[in-house]
């Protein structure tokens, strides 16, 4: 007998008990969340790339359905999108650029001053009691100038980030290309590693995640484009300046549940009031945005099927606040499908666990009885 073996019975034995799986999972999720929070810039980049890949994937699949090689399908779709984007940019960007330059020029600030003066006078004529609240025009102009200076002070910093923005614009399509090209291979690798008795539930969970996020993101993109088109046309018909820029802004803002449409409507109403130097267009713009929201709820969302997320309103608002706080605007957009997918995954895993608990209970007959006599 070895000396260690002889000494063993005298020493107190310490047995290591592995922690329960729930604790291991909780620790793993906490670590991933902490890394995501610390490296939020990279996470946002990856999320955006994955989202783009999701939006594009149906086109690739359509080609694959015709037995086109996977790599060729992915490359072909990206080349087609690049060409389409270039043509659209060549047609739309000059007009959009002119609108943005006009908006950011000094003439627009002068226009704001004149409009606010006129609206101020109108209000005081109508309701003289408001004069005490609003103050005299000089002090009001000073207050407005201070706010304007505060808001534009960060613009040079924003321009210094132009290089980073350009890198991100290049990196997102590149990342999404590789996501799309290699996702199937990675999935296959994962499939081959999964134990056979876990595979059905694992793939059911994966299908559910793919279905929810894919539909949501594709629906969101289509919805944003539809809203942008309708808003631009509506604003152009109303004679509001910068209809293209404001339409695109409305489409993009619409992706944020609850807050987005309200935000875009308010901005457009303010610009319309400044342009016409009157409160009258406020009603027209409000009516237009109510009409857009009505079309969105009744037609666009029904056709895109993208917003079919079933989250409790409190959970939805809570998710938006957390997503916005952690990752800004992009966080608010992507948090909804992520939380919905997590909700569905939890449901499926609980169902799997429940079934596994009663897995060997003998069932001699299926729930739907088979008739003994069928003609």
């Amino acid at each position: 007998m070895s000396p260690e073996a002889a000494a063993a019975p005298d020493q107190p034995r310490t047995r290591w008990f592995p922690p329960p799986p729930t604790i291991v999972w909780a620790i793993a999720i906490a670590i991933v969340a902490a890394i995501a929070y610390i490296a939020s810039d990279v996470v946002v980049l990856v999320i955006f790339s994955a989202a783009l890949a999701y939006v594009i994937s149906p086109l690739v699949r359509r080609l694959e359905a015709a037995a086109i090689r996977h790599n060729l399908a992915v490359s072909g779709v990206y080349i087609a999108i690049f060409l389409l984007f270039t043509i659209t940019a060549a047609l739309v960007l000059p007009r959009l650029r002119t609108e943005i330059v006009t908006l950011s020029s000094g003439t627009f600030k002068q226009q704001i001053d004149q409009s606010v003066d006129k609206l101020h006078r109108e209000l005081i004529e109508e309701y003289p009691a408001l004069e005490q609240v609003l103050g005299d025009p000089e002090s009001r102009n000073e207050r407005l100038s201070t706010v304007f200076q505060q808001q534009t002070a960060n613009l040079p910093n924003l321009l210094s980030h132009a290089v980073e923005i350009a890198i991100v614009i290049v990196l997102i399509p590149v990342f999404s290309f590789f996501f799309l090209r290699d996702s199937r291979r990675l999935l296959q690798l994962l499939m081959d590693r999964l134990p056979a008795d876990e595979i059905e539930t694992s793939v059911a969970v994966w299908c559910e995640i793919e279905r929810i996020t894919g539909r949501y993101l594709r629906g969101l993109a289509l919805e944003a484009m539809a809203i942008a088109t309708i808003a631009s046309t509506g604003l152009w018909l109303l004679g509001v300046n910068y209809p293209l820029f404001l339409g695109v802004f409305s489409g993009m803002a619409n992706v944020i549940p609850y807050v987005g449409p309200f935000l875009s409507g308010t901005v457009v109403a303010m610009i319309a009031m400044i342009q016409f130097q009157s409160f009258a267009p406020l009603v027209k713009v409000m009516l237009l945005y109510l009409l857009i929201k009505f079309c969105d709820l009744t037609i666009i969302q029904t056709l895109t099927v993208g917003r079919s997320v079933h989250l409790h309103p409190i959970l939805l608002v809570g998710s938006l606040l957390i997503g916005g706080h952690a990752f800004g605007l992009i966080g608010m957009v992507v948090v909804v499908p992520i939380v919905t997918a997590l909700q569905e995954v939890t449901r499926l895993l609980l169902e799997h666990r429940r079934r596994k608990a009663g897995i060997r209970t003998p069932r001699r007959a299926p729930s739907t009885p088979i008739q003994n006599c069928v003609c």
Binding site: C207, R211, R363, S367
Partner: protein, 179 residues
């Protein structure tokens, strides 16, 4: 010899799968376009010889199509394994999972290194949402298969009945499905 773009652009493995799917009775009547749509929903998994694909009583969530290899469908009876069927390339099993996720009636095991194409119910549901014609074809084929089971059971019961035994029909043995 000229350059054939079609040969260069198409994936021979995908073409082979398309041909195989066209021969699967469950997908009989589907056109090339519908088969293509179905094909991109399928997962492929390799099983080494002896590995269990699913066990008796597992919840059914997918239908399996044998691409390569051989599968045995077995059922435990009186403490022993009773083989129900041996399936080769182009055959399918577990099709009742497309209807509901009730427990599997029998187990499936790979007899040799086998590659299966797997169609999950979630994917099938997703597919038929926008493809009513496809859904009708697959469901019709499924109904024909089920009608076949029921007739077999009736015939078996009638035989037993004639010998003076009264028995209830066994649950449909969907896992025995084959060409």
């Amino acid at each position: 010899m000229g350059w054939h773009w079609r040969e260069w652009a198409t994936d021979p493995e995908q073409l082979r799968r398309l041909k195989l799917l066209a021969c699967v009775p469950l997908f009989a009547g589907l056109n090339r376009h519908q088969l293509g749509k179905l094909l991109i929903k399928l997962f492929e998994k390799r099983y080494p010889a002896g590995e269990t694909i699913f066990r008796e009583g597992d919840p059914g969530k997918a239908v399996f199509i044998v691409l390569d290899g051989r599968i045995s469908i077995i059922r435990a009876a009186d403490g022993a394994e009773k083989p129900l069927a041996v399936l080769g390339p182009g055959t399918y099993f577990g099709e009742l999972a497309l209807i509901d996720d009730q427990p599997r009636f029998a187990a499936a095991r790979a007899d040799e290194d086998t590659t299966l194409l797997i169609l999950y119910k979630s994917h099938f549901d997703d597919l038929i949402e926008g493809q009513k014609a496809l859904a009708v074809h697959v469901m019709e084929n499924l109904l024909k298969t089920l009608a076949g089971y029921v007739r077999n059971e009736q015939a078996r019961n009638a035989l037993r009945g004639s010998k003076g035994q009264v028995t209830l029909a066994e649950p449909a043995a969907a896992e025995r499905t084959r060409r």
